[in-house]
């Protein structure tokens, strides 16, 4: 009986690696390097920018980089859940903007002119941001599953509508009277100025999301839906309900990003989340090695993908390169990520 339990190959639910017999050393190399090549790119970029502009290794550069990274990372975590099921959420940025504005207006109203209900304003304001995000996610999920409209179309529609909604909430204006707690959340630093609450929130979210995806029933089913939806249905999984929850998680992450970004900017702005945010969230997931067709991907990969984008954002500025090059560079990395993944998968399977 050749059946044996190999501890080595128990890695992850959806990402188990295994040593296949009969592969050439070249295929083997591609199969192995493929998993880590994005980490190599990240290290390379940090070294490259550090050589050109030594200020790359200063606290100021770190704070700038982590500032970008935190927002993209939180959005990209939600996007990872969606992409793992084979879907896509184009509305993560717009949802963040809308939730932030809605919560900030609640705070503004409760604080009033004389700085009134601080605690209530914090709780209800933050609560509004999270609930608004989840509600938008639920609407996306319901339309996608019940009306059977592709996620791309649905979230393209909600993205556009929500951006308009954000402007309508406050006539396109800005809200700056936030609760004291929000201002503390956004401005305090610790560990000698190297850490702040947004970074902690983003790291915590990454760990929780990673455990949730690889260690729980929900995570396993998420991979299975993206891998073979029919198989998931035949296994008795309520795929529609699962997908609605997935889009709600994505919405919740947009809500968390709204809290963090509003706190960091000390204001809610109608233009928040209307730029490249959603594209960078998707790009982070894809650069991180997830398959756009679902079934494959990791939070660690998304983390690396986000870091690459954030390092490019700071590094190109420090290296005195016109910021427009940033988008060119990210675009090239996205395409190479998918191209290399293709070769890797071809080499690694069947």
């Amino acid at each position: 009986m050749a059946l044996a339990l190999k501890k080595k190959t128990e890695a992850g639910v959806g990402v188990a690696r295994d040593e296949e017999a009969g592969q050439s050393w070249f295929q083997d190399l591609l199969g192995r390097v493929g998993q880590f090549w994005t980490l190599g790119i990240l290290v390379l970029l940090i070294v490259l920018f550090g050589t050109i502009a030594p200020t790359m290794y200063t606290q100021a550069a770190w704070n700038s980089t982590s500032g970008y990274a935190v927002e993209y990372l939180i959005l990209a975590i939600g996007e990872t859940f969606v992409i793992l099921t084979g879907g896509i959420d184009l509305a993560v940025g717009a949802t963040m903007g809308f939730s932030g504005m809605a919560g900030a207006l609640v705070m503004q109203h409760l604080i009033g002119a004389n700085g009134g209900h601080q605690a209530l304003a914090s709780v209800l304001g933050i609560g509004t941001m999270l609930v608004a995000g989840m509600a938008i996610g639920m609407v996306n999920g319901l339309i996608i599953t019940k009306m059977k409209i592709p996620p791309f179309i649905v979230t393209l529609g909600t993205m556009t509508a929500i951006m308009g909604g954000t402007d309508l909430l406050n006539n396109g204006g800005e809200v700056t009277s936030l609760s004291n707690f929000m201002n503390t959340l956004g401005s305090s630093t610790f560990a000698g100025g190297w850490l702040n609450y947004p970074v902690v929130v983003a790291l915590l979210a990454s760990v929780v999301a990673s455990l949730y995806l690889t260690r729980t029933r929900f995570g396993m089913r998420t991979f299975s839906i993206g891998s073979n939806e029919i198989a998931a249905r035949r296994a008795g999984i309520n795929v529609d309900r699962h997908l609605i929850r997935i889009y709600m998680i994505s919405g919740l992450m947009s809500g968390i990003a709204a809290v963090v970004v509003t706190a960091a900017l000390a204001s809610a702005n109608a233009t928040t989340g209307t730029a490249n945010d959603n594209l960078y969230a998707i790009a982070s997931v894809i650069i991180g090695g997830a398959s756009i067709f679902g079934g494959r991907g990791t939070i660690l990969g998304t983390f690396i993908g986000t870091s690459i984008i954030a390092v490019l954002e700071t590094g190109l500025v420090l290296a005195n390169v016109a910021p427009f090059w940033q988008q060119v560079a990210i675009g090239l990395i996205i395409v190479s990520a998918v191209a290399i993944d293709r070769v890797r998968v071809k080499a690694g399977t069947d």
């Binding site: 295994d18 993206g226 891998s227 029919i230 296994a235 008795g236 399977t349 069947d350």
Partner: protein
């Protein structure tokens, strides 16, 4: 139809699964017409017929994927109303689908337990925390029991060969199917050696007491593996024979409708 009318083809004892008077109609199309189909403990039943004869319709009704227009299904003598494949599975009816229904990105053990995951107890249960160790161990022993040879249950299914995938799908059905395992063309995509291995597996399963219903176009295999062969023709059962005293050519003639079994046979009565 009674035992004596079936010409002694059926094993003695009470059937595990009984489908009585099953008809399925789509508009004016009669896919199945008053079909009686029983499955007895430990037997391998072949279900054969030309395309459109009603094999898949009958299997899908037993698997809970379709609802009969008329007729009822009994498990161990108790009438059941299978509203979905999930209900059928809960009732101990497992199906191996032609497309295998495996998630290629998941490990073998995860595919075996998909939809029926073992979770840890205590507070971790609330989070749906997987008990991987328990599932991996059970996957190993389940596959061992069916004598399926796979290097590691931690392998992704996408990395397996066609035959190995087939084995995983069959192994899953066997591990969970307490009453019957339905197999729809289980060897269609396989090479000769792998076909033989699946045939062996089917015999092992039936040998453990769980009956197998085998739908296949591969008549030599059906003839070799099955204890009993039921022939469908245009939605009716036209023959129910033992491969021991029926040649493949005879079965082919029943399938094509060019001849019917001798009057002593069960089916003649139904077909007339």
């Amino acid at each position: 139809m009674t035992e004596s009318e079936s010409g002694g083809v059926r094993p003695p004892g009470a059937p595990i699964i009984e489908a009585k008077g099953i008809s399925k109609q789509w508009g004016s199309v009669h896919a199945l017409h008053q079909v009686d189909f029983n499955v007895y403990p430990g037997e391998v039943v072949g279900l054969v017929g030309d395309n459109g004869a009603g094999k898949s319709t009958l299997i899908n009704i037993i698997a809970g994927a379709l609802h009969p227009t008329t007729g009822s299904i009994y498990i161990n003598g108790k009438e059941v109303n299978l509203k979905s494949p999930t209900e059928a599975r809960d009732a101990g009816i497992e199906t191996v689908y032609q497309d295998l229904a495996l998630a290629p990105d998941l490990a073998i053990w995860a595919n075996l337990f998909l939809g029926r995951e073992i979770v840890k107890g205590g507070i971790l249960k609330w989070f749906g925390w997987l008990d991987r160790k328990a599932m991996i161990e059970r996957a190993v022993s389940d596959l061992e029991r069916t004598q399926i040879r796979i290097a590691s249950v931690g392998q992704r299914v996408g990395r397996l060969s066609g035959g190995q995938r087939q084995a995983v799908a069959v192994g899953r059905a066997v591990a969970w199917g307490s009453h019957v395992v339905l197999m729809d063309e289980p060897t269609a995509a396989l090479g000769v050696e792998q076909q033989a291995r699946v045939a062996e597996l089917i015999r092992t399963v039936a040998g453990n007491g769980v009956p197998v219903v085998l739908i296949s176009h591969n008549l030599p295999q059906v003839h070799e593996v099955c204890d009993r062969i039921v022939v469908l023709f245009r939605g009716r059962i036209v023959a129910e024979v033992s491969p021991k005293d029926t040649s493949i050519d005879q079965i082919v003639s029943y399938i094509t409708g060019s001849s019917l079994p001798t009057p002593s046979g069960a089916a003649a009565a139904t077909a007339e």
